[in-house]
Every structure is written in C-alpha cells, then in structure tokens.
Symmetry: C2
Subunit: 245 residues, 2 copies
C-alpha cells in the first residue's frame, strides 16, 4: 500500500489517496485518535470513485468527526480509470438492450451483471483490509457498507473480520445470493427505497428475510433509488457504533 496524496481538512480529518497493487483507494482517519480507530469500509457504486467522491468523502468525514471511525474505499474492478472488464461491458450492453425492448431481466443476465464483480471485488477488499489493519492508527473491528449488496453478502460470509454490515437493497441480486444470504450471521442494517425504479421491492424483502443474522433491521424509506434520506447516514453510524466499540 502506497500513499499517493495527503490532505488535512478543517475538521481535522486526514484524507489520503493510496494505491494497493493496481487498486486505487482513499483512506480517511479522524483527527486526534488516542486509540486505533474502528474501520468502516465504504464500497462505492460502479460509477467510480472520482464521480462519487463528494458523497463518499461526506460519509467518511461524518463517521470520522461524529463517531471517531476511520473509513476507506477502493475503486471497483472495471470502475473509474481501472481497465474495463469485457464480461461486464457485455452484460451491461445486454441489460440496456433488454430494458429498451421492455423484456424482463432474467436470472442469467443478473448473474452476468453481478457475479463477475463479486468474484473480483471480494478478494480485493480482503487484501485492502490486510493492508489497512496493518496501519497503527487503525484497529478492528470492521464494518462494511456498500452499494452493491451482493458484494456485501459474499464479504460477510467469507471475511470473519467484518463484524457488522450496512447494506443497500438497491441492486439486482443473483438467485444464488438468496441462499448465500442464509449463511450471513453478523448484525445487519438493510436500507430499502420503497419505490426504487430499478429494483423489485418483493425481492428486497425476500432477501432481508433470507439473511441468517439474528440481529437484522430493515429501514425502508419512501422514494426512488437515489432518494435515501439524509438521516439514514446517522442511523447507519449509530448501528456501527453499537457493534464496533
């Protein structure tokens, strides 16, 4: 892990760009931490880090200043300036075609859209976690929050260092993920936008039902995909505060 930039904000938060192998990322750490800070991994949506920067940085700095958490994000496989993935580009082209034709989005297409991303992203997150937890200013336990729920599901099943996850039921879920969700046992807080245009409400409720966790909470709010209310940021932070201290 090599730091490539450093910036200190008025609120004391230090933001550092890094590169890990070929993966670019950003790390935010709180001002004056007397002990190693708990860490929140923030997985970006596929749009890419630089496009999502204001939102990601806003969340990270809120976690740092209000709750003393460190936070980090990395570019998804195929995202931002990383080399494109032909398999994903093909699946996304097929999705556009299917949607323009008004056809239903079948399970195979959902698999093609999501699984290649999950298979590549999860090992990268684990490697990132190794590197971040080796820094003296960062301690465990670790929370994960993310835009593509299947990455969160897989990570929660395979990575024991993740102690709690805040998930957004806002993307297509491959059929096999419903089974994988049963293996998840860590505390979860799941966001659902009630009128999400690109997402099936019943499928989201079924996925919530499938999770094996004893503590899981669904927060459903009105509005479409991008309409998650601002107050859910603090509700998520408080969820992590209960589990990462």
């Amino acid at each position: 892990m090599k730091f490539t930039s450093e910036q200190r904000f008025d609120d004391g938060v230090i933001e550092r760009g890094f590169i890990l192998g070929e993966i670019p990322g950003i790390l935010w750490t709180p001002a004056a931490a007397s002990a190693p800070a708990p860490l929140i991994l923030i997985s970006p949506p596929p749009l890419g880090l630089s496009k999502m920067y204001p939102r990601l940085a806003g969340r990270a700095r809120y976690y740092a200043t209000e709750y003393g958490f460190a936070a980090a994000t990395i570019e998804l496989p195929g995202g931002g300036d990383r080399p494109g993935l032909a398999v994903l580009d093909q699946a996304r082209a097929e999705l556009r075609r299917v949607m323009e034709a008004g056809e239903p989005v079948g399970g195979e297409l959902v698999d093609a859209l999501v699984l290649p991303l999950v298979e590549r992203a999860v090992p990268e997150w684990r490697t990132t976690l190794d590197a971040l937890l080796a820094l003296p200013e960062i301690g465990g336990p670790v929370g994960y929050e993310g835009g593509i729920i299947s990455i969160g599901v897989r990570l929660a099943t395979v990575e024991p260092r993740i102690a709690a996850a805040g998930l957004f039921a806002g993307s297509l879920v491959p059929p096999a993920m419903f089974e994988e969700a049963r293996e998840v046992t860590i505390p979860l807080q799941v966001l659902l936008q009630w009128d999400d245009e690109g997402n099936d409400r019943q499928a989201a409720l079924d996925l919530f039902d499938a999770f094996g966790s004893r503590e899981k909470t669904l927060h459903a709010n009105m509005g479409g995909h991008t309409g998650v209310p601002q107050f859910e940021l603090d509700a998520g932070a408080r969820f992590f505060a209960r589990h990462l201290k």
Copy 2:
C-alpha cells in the same frame, strides 16, 4: 385536569399522576426546562397503566433526560381500573374462541375488537391534549407513539396538533383503516416485528404502503411481538427530535 401525585427522580424528571374527568394519566416533565418542552403522547397497550408502568416510565424518562421532551400517557377506555366495556369484552371472548378453534380472525371481528376502542380513545386523547398544552411547562409541537396502531391512524387524521407519529404495526387492523391511512400526511416511523406471532407481516407492509405521508420510515426487526430491540427507543426519540424542534 387534577394532579393526584408528584414524585421527583434523581435524574430531575418530575412524574405527576393526574385525573381528567374520569381518565387517569401520568405526566413526565424534564428537570430544568428553560422553554416549554415539546410533548410526546405515549398510548399504552390495553393491559393497563399500572401493569405497563415500568415500560412507560422508562420511555418517558429517557425522552425527558436525553431529549428534553415532556411525555404523557392516559388509561385506555376499559383499561386498568376504568369501567369495562361490554362490547370489547364480548369481542375479546369471541377472539379467544376463534383462536382456540383455529379459525381465521375475520374483518368483522377485527372491527369489533378495535373500532370501539378507537372511537372512544381518540376524543379522550384530544381532550388530554387540550389540558396538557394549557400547562406553561409544555409547548407544541406534539408527537404520538402508541401500541394500538389504529388509534394512531385516526388521531393522525383528525388531530392537526400531532406533528409526527411513531407507530407499532403490531395489532390487528380493521379493513377500513387501510383507507384511513391514505389520509395521514404527517411524518411517520413505523415499527414492525418480523415474526410477530399475533400479526400478519404482509398486512403490516400493506398498511405501511398505504400511508399517505411523504416521509415514512419502516423499521423492521427480528423477533416476536414483545421483542422490539432496545435501540429502537433511541431511534424513535431521534425521529421525534427531527420533527418536534
């Protein structure tokens, strides 16, 4: 409104018993309020105030000490030491018979169980509100939270002084209430216990969907009717804090 008792706790909260006409109630006010306190009405479950006292007082004192809210509750019609209501007793006997026989609980029986309570309780809450808001230590706006969701629905449609409501989707809902819910426009936070043995999950989701409010949030948690997690008390308080300041 006549105060019948007064007690000051170590945390500074003052608890006063009162009687309003024939309705007994309890008022909790925060220690040192510099301005009139916003008020939360806490409607008890049908078990009666004295049986529910620890839970009600716990909530009220949390609101008072952590958020500076006043809180009040009154005995439901037919509850506690108040005269029984033959119509409710009959309906409850019929409910027991139906459940022991393993028959479904029909819409007419739900009406008989809930509507007489709603029709009597709502005017009593409004009278109580008149009396409470006349006290110098209490100001508006007013929040409502309560155990029987239909009372909250009716109150939210007819009482403009209620600015926000925290409801528990944990009781049977008369068919007509789904229509009435469409008229509710105030911000809502609705609790749902995912495995509530006495309550239909899909009906609760349908009721949440029916509410006309632009801001409404569903918090669904695992477990049965009495298993609402402790952290929802603070989540509810923060919801009120957003809307009652």
